[in-house]
Symmetry: D2
Subunit: 350 residues, 4 copies
């Protein structure tokens, strides 16, 4: 079978996560999170982030993002983000649904990273408009970004400082947080609350879990009544231990960081190989597990015909070719990377 | 350890469901429901219900109920149900959230079953009020009910016929559908669309799944755009195969019906034994896997002290005693039932 | 033309209100409330209520109620009220819409007045249910009530004290606040914040305005961001001076209280006369401008045939007859009252 | 007093509208739109638009726009419009609120007019994204636009045809519809449904009414249940005759078109004069009653100091100067126009 670079969500759950599920499946347990495993997850998360946190397991990234945003943005609030952020284009209006109508204000960013100056400009506009405009409430940053780049901690901190001055909260969509973390080579605390992040959507599904994500508040007071938001969205599992068990197994260095390191390494190898391919143009620094590369249309068509799986990226418009997205995962074999590079070589030579 | 009759959601997943999860966890698979297992579930559901259906796996009963209701009730709609239905008291406003503000109109019902005459009266009121009142849109029935009773098919059909005449849709909250079905001794088709049900929340978690429920539409046309509702609520799993696999394993007669038969038998044994206990009063016909029984306060306190797990039922107010709810499950051992009866005997004699 | 007791909203605007509109219609004025008349209204309201208030003119009672409730109840909140309160039966789900899905929990009350014991019971239920239930957030009281009775200030205070202990806010639907006030013979301050009311929907339309109501917060801090709620509901007039002018003219003792006194006096006269009619049964103390009276069906039919306008009251079910509602207004002539009593006499003798 | 070009909403109501209000204020009338004046408005609107229409008076433009959009876009729908349309920047999230979370997708347009090619591109993107993206539902066009330009009927028709092919509905925000109409020199029918418009927000407040707008559906079937939407938003007046009376008076050629002709003529005179002013740059064709003109900062500051009222336009960013918006109205005196031109001359010469 040809290599599948379509998404990291086509993977199965990794071994330690499945093992944890099996172990959790013994005997009865208190429901709705009153179980031991969930209690241990809470402890583990505090330890991992080196501060008291409130962590809430949920099933999907869309749920994590939207629940988090609904906690920090009023229905008449503005949420600033990249104009092609996942929350804008890929969640079918979930943030608007969960917040009760808050507005996502999308900002352009060639590499997926928004800048403080853009935010300052928007705040100025909001100030002039007053009550006629939605009220600046939150900023949402994707880490790693939709273009496979990673915000540096100083970039995050600059945005965080601006947010604090204006009374806004900062959300991080960390669907690929582990991938960003291994790139940054810093602690989870440094990559989040020490850099101004108030609430994190911590992804695990793409990096080895079966169906587990979490919302993490770094100031537990910010999570007041969040339990009820989760419940009324249908995201409080009765057998919550099975979500918590996945996360507890996942948040072990030998699982989440090891998995992410492998995925990032495969992406790096892929981009390195493709940079040598005539006619190929790697579009952005490859800092996580996604490679965006422009090819002539005929190369892309040939790669598709050969059975390789990947997406043509609809947001990229160019006269010179087609951009495709290649995503690697914790289980991408080196051979898939090599096969793809070889095929690209072959077809671009043709 | 003393017996746990607190809820059927304290159980682990049953063996066939866990086995199915393990089998589904092999290699990559298309995400968001484009996988083979989900396709097979669709086929199996149609076969089971003897008609073309649209089935949508989700994670929780609250999600299933609220998504289903949002599909059949406008934001300015009225949903008629029992006044202490799960959707009214136990879902933290999820139906209002998902529907965008529809109103649940709760009707009294000593045994949890609402009657056509009550609905007719309500429709008359709505007609008089016109535009000032919410518009009659849907009826939601819980099967088995919140009091452990079961609507007979003729009871359902009478409500279904009334609904059709008025243009309303009928939803069934089937969190314990399997338990009702084995009581009714009829086919799934007879228990649902042949009796006027338009959409079913099909529960599996309480009866042996890990985290699986489904919304089933018996007229696929009624499911138009439902996919987007599920997505924007954060209830579309990327690795959907893992939900579908649970349901596929569950909907095998040797699993769902066998599990339910056992739970119901244990409840029947419990109620039979308790009817012999002086001072105990079984409150309703025990037709599924729940037993409601009134005891003097001191008996209840003694049973609690002895370590038995169950709920004091807040909706029941009586001068003569306290009502408790005992729920049996697919894995309740006969010995737990016997131990409870013996303890009740002992303490009521005291 | 026969007398119209259908509603006090069939009346035209009274002379002083129309005069104020004409006077406000001179030259340009700053829009969206930055005009002088709106500023004067703010001053007048503070003077009238003897405390600093935040007052927001709006167009309808439904808007006033729903906006007020959305400010004090979260989307996952519970709002306790009389089960047939206007906000429950007559506003087509507006409170659910504006709050983003909060739940109105209706309590029975023969005379339209809910009691502290009922609330205490509900809070106990909510406490037991925890996160599965909506969170107690607010209490809404209608003054005068839907049955034409009036809460005494000590009754309000008892509810207010309970609310404060639990951290709930109290809303008053004062669609007929002036009518209640003249009955209570107390100051506006005593009838509201001194008796525990946090926010008032102050009605004027039924009592002589053209289209003016207001939301009044007695603790301006409670009104944070309320401006944006009003705006995004389409209830911020560009030419706001025309709403403010109505209210400013209305809140003159010679207008609002005089108008209400007349309406109440006519209702009192009506009920006094009807008490003498054989077969008629006045249903509740007549404390404002509404009279509910039970007649035999044939009397009601005869009165309708004679051209009198009133409503048969759908919420009242009795074997002995039909209840009708008679509403008097600031412009009800004494002769209409006398004509109605005479007709009732005549037909009940028949 | 110096001239006020801040907005056309600073004007009082014009004489015929006030006269109609006074005439409507006689005796009692059926409430909630069952009155004669509202019936006559319905007839008048059908006559005016040369087809059967459903017309719903409301109080504000924000209400008209948002209610209209909520009727044609599902909560998971996409509404395409100009990126700085009033519904995007000036209504505090009202469209999101009323639709239950639909997404406004803003498209760039230098002159405020979006083009079919832009829509086609967006639809292609939505098709590729499938269920992950909001569903194309509606297009909203502002007429006259936010930049004072006017869509030609052939431009509207091209968009209308595209919408019909894709099953989308087209909304027109006609806050300044009369101004556009007198520019187009065509019939109201030609300017709306004959050019593909499904629903119109018909503005009157800016052009001489006190507080009246209307939602007009050109296919009454499209208005199903709209009554309930209006009611639950608090936009159904009890004394609706007073809204209908304004509109009935307004929709007389000698009122709405005459008023608009004057406003447009004043804007034309203003722009003609300003084109002669050194350093001034009129930014777009002046086709309605708004003039956007760029001046050096010092000229703008001088004009402000001289007491002239207008807005600096925040959406316009330029190195060479500041853009201001000048709005004329039905009552702008020629002398104000002349005074402003003279002042601009004087200060730019300085």
């Amino acid at each position: 079978m040809a290599a599948n670079f379509g998404s990291d969500n086509v993977t199965p759950a990794c071994e330690p996560v499945m093992q944890a599920l099996l172990e959790a499946n013994r005997g009865t347990a208190a429901s709705y999170g009153a179980d031991d495993i969930t209690a241990r997850l809470q402890v583990r998360a505090a330890e991992l982030f080196e501060t008291e946190v409130a962590i809430f397991p949920v099933t999907t990234g869309t749920a994590a993002n939207s629940l988090a945003l609904s906690q920090i943005a009023a229905p008449f609030g503005a949420i600033y983000c990249y104009e092609a952020a996942h929350i804008v284009t890929d969640e079918c209006g979930a943030p608007e649904f969960f917040t009760g109508g808050a507005k996502l204000i999308g900002l352009p960013a060639a590499d997926g990273k928004i800048r403080p100056e853009q935010l300052t400009h928007e705040f100025g506009f909001a100030d002039e408009m007053g009550v006629h405009h939605v009220k600046p409430a939150a900023i949402s940053l994707t880490q790693a970004t939709e273009w496979g780049t990673v915000y540096g901690n100083e970039e995050l901190s600059a945005i965080g400082a601006l947010a604090r001055r204006r009374g806004l909260k900062v959300h991080m969509d960390g669907a690929r947080f582990a991938n960003a973390l291994v790139h940054l080579k810093c602690s989870p605390a440094e990559a989040t609350w020490k850099s101004g992040i108030d609430v994190l959507s911590l992804g695990a599904t793409k990096n080895g879990a079966l169906c587990a994500e979490a919302v993490v508040f770094f100031e537990p007071g910010l999570a007041a009544d969040f339990e009820r938001r989760r419940k009324r969205a249908g995201h409080l599992w009765s057998k919550l231990r099975f979500l918590s068990a996945q996360l507890l197994a996942y948040l072990d260095e030998e699982v989440w960081l090891k998995n992410a390191r492998h995925a990032n390494a495969m992406a790096a190898a892929l981009s390195m190989g493709l940079r040598e391919v005539p006619g190929a143009r790697v579009l952005h620094p490859v800092e996580a597990n996604e490679v965006f590369v422009e090819f002539p249309e005929k190369t892309v068509a040939a790669l598709e015909s050969a059975g390789f799986k990947f997406y043509r990226w609809p947001l990229y418009v160019s006269r010179s070719g087609v951009a495709i997205r290649l995503v690697t995962s914790y289980m991408t074999p080196k051979s898939d990377v090599e096969a793809f590079i070889a095929a690209a070589q072959r077809w671009s030579a043709a």
